[in-house]
Structure formats: structure tokens, C-alpha cells
């Protein structure tokens, strides 16, 4: 997303998605859900061609209010999403990569290729660090960063800023 504000289009899509999810939580079986989902889609499609932004915003407002009154008290949340059962469950087992530095040399000797490769990666990181920092300082906005998104590398042959954090992030699946 370019800016911090949502466009009308985006707001409508988000309302559609969350109303479908809550509809799913209310439905007893899949057939009922599909029927009501199609009916809801018909309602959204009726007002698709609205060009008057005032009317469109009023429609969105009434839609949001209807969603609020009809929402499910305990909607289905996916396990890995915030509020779900498995959210951040394995965060404590995700060991950061700097722990590898603290391995005993006898332990490191069990994986010589891996640690040799790792030395090369660390050298690369050392070389590109200054360039990353200068790029971030050049592109820094006055009031602080507006989004969490990092900029890509601007110069050919350069690495994107703070690439080490992304490359050495802990694995998503449990190995």
C-alpha cells in the first residue's frame, strides 16, 4: 500500500471479506453458506456501478453498520492469525541466528561446510552494511518512516537494506 489511508475500493473489499467470513461462522453447513454468500455477492454487485461517491460512501457506512449488528460473537479465526489458537505458539522455539556464533568449536567442527559458508556470508554482510546505512539515511523521510516496508536496492549490484534480518529470519514451519 502506498499511503496509510485506505481507498474506498479497498474498504469495500475488506467489508466483503469479513462479512463472508462471519457468514461462514454463522452457517451450519457448507450449502447454506454458499447460498447466503451468493445472495450477499448479489447485494454487493447491485451497487457496483455507483459513480456518486457520496452515495457510495453512505452505502459503505450502512454496510459497515449492518456488519457490526450481524457479526458473529466468536468468528472462525485461522490458527496462525492473531487471536487464533496457534498464534505465536512456536515463537519461543525460533532461535535467532546469532546463537550460532556461540557454539563451541567442537560443535562447529561437526558442520565445517556450513560454517565456512557462513563466514563468507558474514563477510558479505560486513561489506554491504555501510552502503545499506547510507541508502537508508538518504531515503529517510522527515517525520520518520511511514510504513514498515523496506526500500529495495537502488544501485545495481547492491544488496537491499537490512537484508541480513530477512535472510536469517527463523523458519516458518517447524523444521
Amino acid at each position: 500500500m502506498a499511503s496509510a489511508f485506505l481507498t474506498h475500493h479497498q474498504k469495500v473489499l475488506r467489508l466483503y471479506k469479513k462479512s463472508l467470513r462471519h457468514l461462514e461462522s454463522w452457517s451450519d453447513n457448507r450449502h447454506d453458506y454458499r447460498f447466503h454468500a451468493c445472495v450477499l455477492r448479489g447485494r454487493f454487485d447491485d451497487n457496483l456501478a455507483e459513480k456518486d461517491m457520496v452515495k457510495a460512501t453512505m452505502l459503505l457506512k450502512t454496510g459497515e453498520e449492518e456488519f457490526w449488528t450481524k457479526q458473529h460473537p466468536a468468528p472462525y479465526i485461522f490458527p496462525d492469525s492473531p487471536g487464533g489458537t496457534s498464534y505465536e505458539r512456536y515463537e519461543c522455539y525460533k532461535v535467532p541466528e546469532w546463537v550460532l556464533e556461540h557454539w563451541h568449536p567442537s560443535e562447529k567442527a561437526v558442520y565445517p561446510d556450513y560454517f565456512a559458508k557462513r563466514e563468507q556470508w558474514k563477510k558479505l554482510r560486513l561489506e554491504s552494511w555501510d552502503k545499506e546505512i547510507t541508502q537508508l539515511q538518504l531515503e529517510a523521510e522527515a517525520g520518520g518512516p511511514k510504513t514498515e516496508a523496506l526500500p529495495p536496492a537502488r544501485i545495481d549490484g547492491d544488496l537491499p537494506p537490512l537484508w541480513w534480518q530477512i535472510v536469517t529470519r527463523p523458519r516458518a514451519q517447524g523444521a
Binding site: 479497498q10 466483503y16 485461522f78 490458527p79 496462525d80 492469525s81 523458519r171 516458518a172
Partner: protein
């Protein structure tokens, strides 16, 4: 990963040396003990687990089979072919939903929801609205699940 390594060790130990060496490792065995243990192990070989105590060392949690890029692509295309607004003959991995297949943004939301249901994790709205081809969806899922990274 540690669990898998342990399981592998247990399996190789079982296959290679059998009950004798293990017994010798666990308890200093006299020849008489060995004969007895061989006999009792023989009886136990009829059951599935020779050494249930060793199974305790490696826990086996219920997990889905590991994802591969091919399997993700297969599943994504399968779900898309089931969608009635898409013509299955025209569907390619690189076909754009809006330009090539003539779908709406509401349809794209429905497709993303079907992908969420298929793979069992949520795709946040900010990133979902950018996924416009099956290839991008596959890339996104592989990114989130760290497949062949």
C-alpha cells in the same frame, strides 16, 4: 529437525544391530541375559514397536505432509479450476485474473479466501489485494511457509 535426526538414529540402530547391541548398550549383558533378551525380543518383533521406550525419545506430533513448490502450484490451480467463473482451459499459471480471465476485484477476494481455506492460514488484506496471478499466489505461500527458500 532434532526429532527427525533422533528418529533416523533410532531406525538405523534398529535395522543394523537389532536388539542385541541395544540391550548391551543399555544394560551390561551377560551371555545368559543375551539369550533371554533375544528370545523376549523375538516375541516382541511380532508387535510393531520393538522398543517402545525408545519411541518416547522422539515424539511424533500430528503434522501435515511437507509442502513443495509443485504441490502448492498443483493445489492452487486445482482450486482455481473448481471456481465456476474461470474457464479451466484458459487457465495458466501466469494468467492475470483481471486482464486475462476477466474477473472482478470481488472475485479476486473470493479466490484469495478459497486459497486461505485450502492452505489453512490467513492472507492479510494489504497483501491479498496485490496477488493477481496464480504464480504470485504460489510465490506468496512459498514465502510465508519458507519452502525452497
Amino acid at each position: 529437525m532434532a526429532a527427525r535426526v533422533l528418529q533416523h538414529c533410532v531406525r538405523t540402530l534398529r535395522l543394523s544391530s537389532g536388539p542385541l547391541a541395544l540391550r548391551a548398550a543399555v544394560v551390561p549383558a551377560a551371555p545368559l541375559h543375551r539369550a533371554l533378551s533375544f528370545y523376549s525380543a523375538d516375541r516382541r518383533t511380532r508387535c510393531v514397536n520393538k522398543f517402545p521406550s525408545l519411541d518416547v525419545l522422539c515424539r511424533q506430533y500430528g503434522q501435515l505432509p511437507p509442502l513443495t513448490l509443485e504441490s502448492i502450484e498443483e493445489r492452487v490451480l486445482y482450486v482455481l479450476k473448481l471456481y465456476d467463473k474461470i474457464n479451466p482451459e484458459k487457465l495458466q499459471a501466469t494468467s492475470h485474473f483481471m486482464k486475462d480471465l476477466g474477473l472482478d476485484s470481488l472475485d479476486q477476494v473470493e479466490i484469495i479466501m478459497a486459497m486461505e481455506d485450502e492452505f489453512g492460514f490467513e492472507i492479510p488484506d494489504g497483501e491479498a489485494e496485490k496477488l493477481m496471478t496464480p504464480d504470485e499466489i504460489v510465490q506468496y505461500i512459498a514465502d510465508k511457509k519458507d519452502i525452497y527458500e
